[in-house]
C-alpha cells in the first residue's frame, strides 16, 4: 500500500483531528453574534464613508445656494451639483443594498458547486466595482470642477476668466488627492479580493490535458 493510501485510512480513523470538546448552544450563539457584528461593521464602514461624503456635498452646496443663491451663476452651479449627485446617491445606495442583501440571502445552496459559488461571489463584487468605477470617473471630476468654480467665484476677487491657471491647478490637486484616497480603498476592498477570486476561478476552469 502506498504512503498516501495508508495515510488515507489513518485520516478517517483520526478522531484527534476533531476537537476534544463539542460546541454548545451558548458558544455557537456567542460566535454568531460576534460574526454578525463583524459583517455589519465591514458593510457599514463602507456605507457610512460613501454616505458621509454625499451628505457633505449636499450640505455644502445647499449652504452656498442659500447664502449666495441670488447670483444666477452660483445658483445654477449649486443646483446642477445637487441634481448631478442625486441619481448617483440613489443608485449607489441601491447597488450597495443589493450587494449586501444578496450576500445574506444566498448562502450556499444544496446544489451549488464550489466553482459556481466562487464565480457568483466574483460576479457580485465585480459588478459593484464596475459601477463604483464609472461613478467615480464621472462624478469626481464633475463635482471637483463645480467646487473649484464656486470657490473661485465666491472668494477670489475678479472674474473667473482671470484665474484659469489657478483654477486648473486647484482642480488637478483636488483630483489627485481624491484619486490617491480612492486607489488605496479600491485596492484593499476590490482589486485584491477580485484578483484572488479570479485565480481560484481560473484554476477551476483549467482543464487537465
Amino acid at each position: 500500500m502506498s504512503t498516501l493510501e495508508d495515510l488515507k485510512e489513518r485520516w478517517n480513523a483520526d478522531r484527534s483531528a476533531a476537537p476534544t470538546q463539542s460546541v454548545d448552544k451558548a458558544a455557537l450563539e456567542k460566535m454568531f453574534k460576534s460574526r454578525i457584528m463583524k459583517h455589519m461593521k465591514t458593510s457599514m464602514q463602507y456605507f457610512w464613508a460613501s454616505f458621509g461624503l454625499q451628505v457633505l456635498v449636499y450640505a455644502l452646496l445647499t449652504h452656498v445656494l442659500v447664502r449666495y443663491g441670488a447670483d444666477l451663476t452660483t445658483l445654477m452651479f449649486c443646483a446642477g451639483g445637487i441634481l448631478l449627485h442625486l441619481p448617483f446617491t440613489i443608485m449607489l445606495m441601491r447597488k450597495f443594498r443589493s450587494m449586501a442583501t444578496l450576500k445574506l440571502q444566498h448562502p450556499t445552496n444544496d446544489e451549488d458547486s464550489l466553482q459556481h459559488y466562487v464565480t457568483r461571489q466574483h460576479a457580485l463584487l465585480s459588478d459593484f466595482y464596475k459601477f463604483k468605477k464609472r461613478y467615480e470617473l464621472l462624478l469626481i471630476p464633475l463635482s471637483g470642477a463645480i467646487g473649484v468654480v464656486l470657490v473661485f467665484k465666491l472668494y477670489v476677487p475678479g472674474p473667473l476668466t482671470q484665474h484659469w491657471t489657478g483654477m486648473l491647478i486647484t482642480f488637478l490637486l483636488t483630483i489627485i488627492s481624491c484619486l490617491l484616497a480612492i486607489r488605496s480603498e479600491n485596492r484593499k476592498s476590490f482589486r485584491e479580493p477580485l484578483c484572488e477570486l479570479k485565480t481560484v476561478i481560473d484554476e477551476f476552469r483549467q482543464e487537465a490535458p
Partner: protein, 172 residues
Amino acid sequence: MKGELDKSFLQHINDNLGIARKVSRVYCPDPDDREDLFQEMMYQLWKSYANFDGLAKFSTWMYRVCLNTALTYRRKKEKERNQPLSGAHDQIALHDEQTNDHAIAMLFDAIATLSPVNKAIVLLYLENMSYAEIASVTGMTTSNVSVRLVRIKKELERQLKDTLKSASHVNP
C-alpha cells in the same frame, strides 16, 4: 439573532466538527486566521442550514459550505495581526494542532502546500468520496478530477517521502 438554534443543527455540527477543523487547518497556516476562518465557517453553516434539504449527506453539504467559505476567505494582513505584548505571551505555547499523529500532521503540512482548488479536491478524496461526488461538489468534470488527483497524489507522495527521508537523517 434570527431565531433559536435548531437542535438538529447542533447535533449535525457536533457530529461533523472535524470537517471544519480539517478545512481551516489546511487553508490557514496561521492559528489566528484559522480560528477566524473556523468561526466564519460555523456562521455560514448556520446561515445556509435552511437550504440543507437532507437529500445529500450532511457531511458532503458541510464540506461544500466549509470549502466555499475557505476559498473566498480573506486573510488578515500582517500588520493587522501585530499586537502589543501582554501577559498571555509569557505562557508556553501549546502544541500547534489537535492531532497527535505525526504522520497525519505531515499530511496536513503537505496538503497545505497545494493550490486552493487542489486542496479542496484532496480533502474530498481523503473523505472517501467518489470521483463523481468530487466532481459534483467542485463543479469540475469527472475526468478532470481524475487526472488532477493522479498529479496531486504523486506530488503528496513525493513530499511525504522527502519529509520522511529528512526525518530519518535527523533521527537515524
